[in-house]
């Protein structure tokens, strides 16, 4: 009988040496099979071939700010003068040069609003008021015509403020619309369900470019003559419509993941439909939908660059326009790299923030 009972405790031991440490890591991750070993060697060789010339172009042979373009062309290497020379045009487009502090403040206001909205402590009703106030300020700054600011037509707007306005306003209007669409698609009322499904399937079945074309070319045909509807506004509406349909499907995925018991518990407590959705179902469904939603956010942020085809100059558009300056023709690598970095910073921040949000929301109810 005593053999069946173990008294005392076994002391902790270190794991065997060949399972921990850098050598074990290399063996487990890079050389665990012959084909992985082969891939590792191949990739290492490619990196050795690619990185030094890239660094050379980017940094070592690069011409510093201020080098004239003619010199750059002879020397090879990146010509960062392009960026410093064209910075204001790329950032602000054709906005009157002396007034360009206005789009700059606009960028600051929009980024500040977005950053504030990222902090869950600020998720209070007054945040909505901040947005209304902030966006009004943006409108005043960009258009002007009041408070002693000169009037600037919105055909002159361009660059980063345009990209930010299209995406931030677009996504923040499309998001609540998409929640309603997702709920509508699961509604028990047939008329609402059919309308939501029809809308989502119609819009999703059409490329964004064609929707933008329709907004800019076809839509005016339906308006009575003399009524002119702003081109930027039409593009913005096309974006909202498109983004709402896509996000609705992301949210529907989240809604479907909520167990039936949650609906029943909310019902059994006497909560009405909107209370149950707002307090019980949506907080859980949206938390689940974060990865596909952020995916949509990121892709729409980049898709704002499509407005170039209807003659609006967003960040990509102004970079292209800067390249058409005869003195600076051919520096497309510098131009695209520069705006690529700007896009990347925004998209990567969104991605990072969404990961943080997912962690925060999960922390509470982890088992």
């Amino acid at each position: 009988m005593t053999d069946n009972v173990h008294t005392g405790s076994i002391p902790d031991e270190r794991p065997p040496a060949n399972t921990v440490g850098p050598v074990a890591w290399l063996r487990n991750n890079l050389f665990n099979t012959w084909y992985n070993a082969l891939l590792t060697i191949l990739i290492a060789w490619l990196l050795v071939k690619a990185i030094p010339p890239l660094l050379d172009w980017l940094i070592f042979s690069a011409n510093s700010f201020g080098t004239p373009p003619q010199v750059c062309r002879q020397q090879g290497g990146a010509c960062w003068t392009f960026v410093s020379e064209k910075l204001r045009f790329v950032m602000f487009g054709t906005f009157p040069y002396d007034e360009q502090w206005r789009p700059l403040v606009t960028i600051v206001i929009i980024i500040a609003l977005v950053l504030m909205s990222c902090d869950r402590r600020f998720w209070k009703p007054w945040l909505g008021l901040m947005w209304v106030g902030g966006l009004t300020a943006v409108g005043v700054l960009m258009w002007g015509g009041v408070l002693g600011l000169t009037y600037v037509e919105n055909t002159l707007w361009g660059g980063l403020p345009l990209t930010l306005m299209l995406s931030v306003i677009g996504l923040s209007v499309a998001f609540p619309a998409s929640i309603l669409l997702a709920l509508g698609r699961r509604s028990q009322l047939p008329a609402i369900r059919v309308m939501s499904v029809t809308y989502i399937e119609l819009i999703r079945g059409v490329p964004l470019i064609s929707l933008l074309f329709m907004a800019s070319v076809m839509f005016p045909l339906f308006l009575p003559t003399g009524v002119n509807f702003d081109k930027l506004l039409r593009a913005q509406i096309a974006f909202i419509m498109f983004a709402a349909a896509y996000m609705a499907e992301a949210i529907r995925g989240g809604l479907q993941a909520i167990p039936k018991g949650q609906y029943e518990a909310a019902d059994a407590l006497g909560l009405n439909y909107w209370q149950a959705m707002r307090k019980i179902i949506l907080p859980q469904a949206l938390a689940i939908s974060i990865p596909p939603l952020v995916n949509t956010f990121i892709s729409f942020f980049k898709d704002t660059s499509l407005v170039i085809i209807i003659g609006l100059y967003d960040l990509l558009g102004t970079a292209k326009a800067a390249l058409s300056d005869p003195a600076w023709r051919g520096f497309y690598r510098e131009a695209y790299l520069f705006i690529g970095v700007i896009y990347w910073v925004f998209c990567y921040s969104m991605s990072k923030y969404s990961q943080k949000l997912e962690r925060d929301l999960r922390r509470g109810h982890r088992r």
Binding site: P259, G261, Q262, E264, A265, D267, A268, L269, G270, L271, N272, Q275, K279, I280, P283, Q284, A287, L361, G364, H365, R366, R367
Partner: protein, 260 residues
């Protein structure tokens, strides 16, 4: 036993003021006839245990009482309000009828305390402080007050079910429905939940409980209802029900659950 006799006994059981009246209730799932001519009256303060084989319609029956399921024929009146398609009436009934589920169905994104205060604040329109005070009182009563700021996922099954009971009690319901409250629990946690339910029964709560816990039925129930294939086959006091079952189906069921 004929249906007429069971219906007769149903009325004779409910003494005093009736809070639930079911008359000739039928329900179908598509072609499947899941509830057949249910007649049931429940008096205030009565404690009823409903048992029967799985698929006999016992859960469906109590879920009809707060309209989580819709009946297609007959009438159900709860606390003087008839359950029809009228959403306002359904919400009114649900305020007065608490329900505890087999799988607890706590809200995982809210703390224990928030689970308990949500409905009082939003449905009963109580001020937050008052709702929290009420919630803490019921959480103490189910002996889980010290976990008030944890999330449901951090609690054991028995603890979660006790929170679910407290959550229902916070609405000060006139009737409590229990849908197999201990079936999803590990055996060592059944007792803590049953103890809370016994306490509730002692305080005079009107209770309808679908359960396989026959010990609970014997010690607490005023009446045991046996259902099979969608009908109420037999109902009686626990003593009579267990010692002197009338129908063959009841005897068969009792022999299956008691002799193992």
């Amino acid at each position: 036993m004929t249906m007429a006799q069971t219906a007769g006994t149903a009325r004779s059981f409910a003494k005093g003021e009736e809070i639930i009246q079911c008359r000739g209730v039928h329900k179908w799932y598509g072609e499947f006839h899941v509830l057949k001519n249910i007649d049931l009256s429940v008096a205030k303060g009565e404690r009823i245990v409903i048992c029967g084989p799985s698929g006999s319609g016992k859960s469906t029956m109590i879920r009809c009482l707060n309209r989580l399921e819709e009946h297609q024929k007959g009438s159900i009146v709860v606390d003087g309000i008839e359950l029809t398609g009228n959403l306002k009436n359904i919400e009114l009934v649900r305020r007065e009828v608490g329900m505890v589920f087999q799988h607890f169905n706590l809200f995982p994104h809210l703390t224990v305390l928030e689970n308990c205060t949500l409905a009082p604040i939003w449905v009963r329109k109580k001020p937050k402080a008052e709702a929290e005070e009420l919630a803490m009182r019921y959480l103490r009563r189910v002996r889980i007050a010290e976990q008030a700021h944890k999330y449901p996922g951090q609690l054991s099954g028995g603890q979660q079910q006790r929170v679910a009971i407290a959550r229902s009690l916070c609405m000060s319901p006139k009737v409590m429905l229990f849908d197999e409250p201990t079936s999803a629990l590990d055996p060592e946690m059944v007792k803590e939940v049953l103890d809370v339910m016994i306490g509730l029964a002692e305080d005079g709560m009107t209770m309808l409980c679908v359960t396989h816990e026959m010990g609970f039925a014997k010690s607490v129930a005023d009446r045991v209802i046996f259902m099979d294939r969608g009908e109420i086959v037999e109902q009686n006091t626990p003593n009579e029900f267990f010692n002197n079952p009338q129908s063959d189906r009841t005897r068969l069921f009792l022999s299956q659950i008691l002799n193992h």
